[in-house]
């Protein structure tokens, strides 16, 4: 029994490491994708192309515009003279934000009135528009507050002593810089592991079916369980290696802090790999060619990542969709990843996620073994 299993594992490792391309696939894409995602997957905005149409040409309007030009969030280099030009630039996508200060802006402020500042935002990307609007109102309100204080100081300085206000004292826990990279990097570790392990496993089995070696192996006294174990154990170890590799890139390259305990993370990784091997095997039992396996894997991977909470919060999804997410191992693994990396929580908090992955993993592997028996007939 152990002899046959050992032979299968030796064979699998020889095959993986003999092929130059496969060897590269194990190390190259995970690191490259980790770097790409780490830099690209972000909700933050910087240097939003901004155009300014200042029709007032007053000291006040210049002061307001300078607050935008000095902000790292906006690139407000371009001054326009015509409101039609502003519309054109936004149409062409050359500007995302347009500020229009109408003539008489300073006049209204000086006479103690409320002066409008027209802000045009290209909201095609609603997320960018939302965040940009937030920054714009911060800058505009800051300008207004300072102007009010100067104004009151000039006409009745004693009033400043009794002017009530609220100061915000935000304490963003776990991610004080509110860096979205800290949010995304652990998620990328999870989704890359998912893609890698599912495709490697599914392909490894389907390839044998396609070229006929599966049949030759199945007429030897090997048991289906031995075959499956021999096929999955190598990919389990490879998956473990890859998780550690990309986790190291996250911690050392992107400087995402790891505050939890490594054994807790490893427990999560092992359970998650179990689930992914199960999914990969299941895909292999319903596919007879590598193309079918690829399409089937694609159908699983896309929604599995979308519904996992990788990028979009599960709590805002419709209720029925939220139920689906409970069947997705990545959902639990992401909580474990973010919990161990950022929150530094342990088993006392994460055990429900661990239990869910263990349950799903066992169910998936059992289903795969049963299907495998059937697929042989």
């Amino acid at each position: 029994m152990l002899g046959r299993l050992k032979q299968m594992i030796i064979k699998e490792f020889i095959q993986v490491f003999r092929d130059k391309r496969t060897r590269f696939i194990l190390v190259g894409p995970p690191i490259i994708q980790m770097l790409v995602f780490g830099y690209a997957a972000t909700y933050e905005i910087h240097h939003v192309p901004t155009v300014v149409l200042d029709l007032d040409h007053s000291q006040e309007s210049r002061e307001l515009v300078s607050r935008f030009t000095s902000s790292p969030y906006f690139d407000a280099q371009r001054q326009l003279t015509d409101s039609r030009e502003l519309g054109d630039l936004i149409d062409q996508g050359k500007a995302t934000v347009g500020l229009e200060i109408h003539a008489g802006f300073a006049q209204q402020l000086r006479s103690g009135q409320t002066a409008p500042l027209q802000v045009i935002v290209d909201a095609t990307n609603s997320n960018t528009a939302l965040i940009a609007s937030g920054y714009i109102s911060q800058i505009a309100l800051g300008f207004a507050r300072d102007y009010q204080r100067d104004h009151i100081y000039r006409i009745a300085p004693q009033l400043l002593e009794v002017m009530p206000s609220v100061t915000l004292e935000p304490r963003p826990w776990y991610n004080p810089g509110m860096s979205s990279r800290w949010f995304f990097v652990p998620g990328v570790i999870g989704s890359l592991t998912l893609v890698l392990v599912i495709t490697l496993t599914a392909f490894a089995v389907v390839r044998e079916r396609e070229i006929g070696t599966l049949e030759q192996i199945m007429v030897t006294p090997i048991r289906p369980a031995e075959f499956i174990l021999g096929k999955t154990l190598p990919f389990f170890l490879i998956g473990l290696f890859d998780v550690m590799l990309i986790a190291a890139v996250g911690a050392f390259w992107f400087q995402v802090p790891f505050r939890g305990h490594i054994p807790v993370l490893l427990t999560g990784v092992v359970l998650f790999l179990l689930c992914m091997l199960g999914v990969g095997l299941l895909i292999s039992t319903v596919s007879s060619t590598q193309q079918q396996a690829m399409v089937t894997a694609f159908f699983y991977i896309m929604p599995a990542i979308t519904f996992s909470g990788f990028g979009f919060p599960i709590s805002t999804m419709p209720q029925w969709m939220q139920y689906i997410t409970y069947a997705l191992p990545l959902r639990y693994f992401l909580i474990v990843l973010r919990g161990t990396y950022l929150k530094g929580v342990g088993m006392d908090i994460l055990w429900p996620q661990m239990a869910a992955m263990a349950g799903l993993g066992l169910a998936l592997i059992t289903a795969a073994i049963l299907r495998f028996h059937k697929a042989l007939d």
């Binding site: 032979q7 020889i14 095959q15 006929g212 070696t213 049949e215 030759q216 030897t220 006294p221 007939d377």
Partner: protein, 318 residues
């Protein structure tokens, strides 16, 4: 001790896929050291039968005992006692020759003390001594086939199944391959071969002809040639050939007419009686006959005759 360790015993074996009956109540019994051929057109049920006998497919009903073990009840023991080689080359192309041999030796649990001996034997047999480290995929077809056979019999099984072993192999390699098969049979191994090559069928000790899931004839190649034809065979050389075939298919007393090379093969009830009638039948239609004589049928004639007979019987059913 299992009964009939060197044999394949099949009783009323049936395999259904939904409504389709792939194998329909077949009975086979092979003897020790026999090369048993399983002949039939594509889709006749050959591969399905062999897959059941190897424990890869569960029979729908009936019984099959291979090397003394029931395929439905103890497929694992069956697989420990058989060698199987399929029509597709199915070793690992990306492994070295020696790695393939070691893999299969391990899967068949060849004892450590015998391992080196069996590896040497397999290399010798495949003519690959000293080339253990070649990547299997780079070997020429015939060598691969011999290596595959070597790997399939590393554990010295008493029964070997070969599923169209020499399709796509050149005639010389095929000849060498059959020498190997007979050598193993000479040592008491039962060899069960499927094929649709008639020349390959001639190498077998006994043949079963399967058509539409049923065995339509069983015997030695010479028994089949002697007994299985309905009618006798006439060779006719004439001019023009095309017109002759058309005319003869409608001629009285002719059961079948087919072109074989430059001549025609006719199936008739009584060859001696039919000859003068047919000669005048052709000549009145302006066809000149240069030669007409009774010949012994080849396996191909038997094969065609039996399958067409079975076809017509099928069509006559209401």
């Amino acid at each position: 001790m299992p009964e009939q360790a060197n044999s394949v015993v099949v009783e009323k074996l049936v395999k259904r896929f939904g409504d389709f009956v792939a194998v329909d109540h077949i009975d086979i019994e092979t003897r020790k050291g026999e090369v048993f051929g399983f002949l039939g057109p594509n889709g006749a049920g050959k591969s399905t039968t062999i897959r059941m006998l190897c424990g890869l497919l569960r029979p729908t009903s009936g019984r099959a005992v291979v090397a003394g073990f029931d395929v439905a009840r103890d497929p694992e023991s069956v697989r420990q006692n058989i060698g199987y080689m399929s029509q597709k080359f199915s070793l690992y192309n990306d492994l070295k020759v020696i790695e393939n041999i070691r893999l299969f030796a391990g899967l068949y649990s060849v004892p450590a003390k015998d391992l080196q001996g069996r590896i040497d034997w397999a290399l010798e047999m495949a003519n690959l001594k000293g080339q253990e480290n070649l990547i299997t995929g780079t070997l020429p077809g015939g060598w691969k086939q011999r290596l595959a056979l070597g790997c399939a019999v590393l554990h010295k099984p008493p029964v070997i199944f070969l599923d169209e072993p020499t399709s796509g192999v050149d005639p010389i390699t095929r000849r060498q391959f059959w020498d190997l098969i007979h050598e193993m049979a000479g040592e008491g191994v039962t060899v069960f071969v499927t094929t649709h090559y008639m020349e390959e069928a001639e190498y077998c000790n006994r043949l079963a002809l399967i058509f539409r899931g049923k065995i339509v004839a069983l015997g030695t190649p010479s028994e089949l040639k002697r007994d299985s034809m309905t009618g006798q065979l006439l060779l006719v050389e004439c001019e023009p050939l095309g017109a002759a075939v058309e005319a003869l298919q409608a001629a009285p007393g002719v059961m079948d007419a087919a072109v074989f090379g430059n001549a025609l093969h006719l199936v008739v009830g009584d060859a001696a009686a039919a000859q003068p009638q047919l000669r005048s039948y052709l000549e009145t239609r302006g066809i000149s006959v240069s030669r007409m004589e009774q010949i012994w049928p080849s396996l191909e004639d038997v094969f065609v005759s039996l399958t067409t007979a079975s076809n017509t019987a099928e069509e006559r059913k209401p």
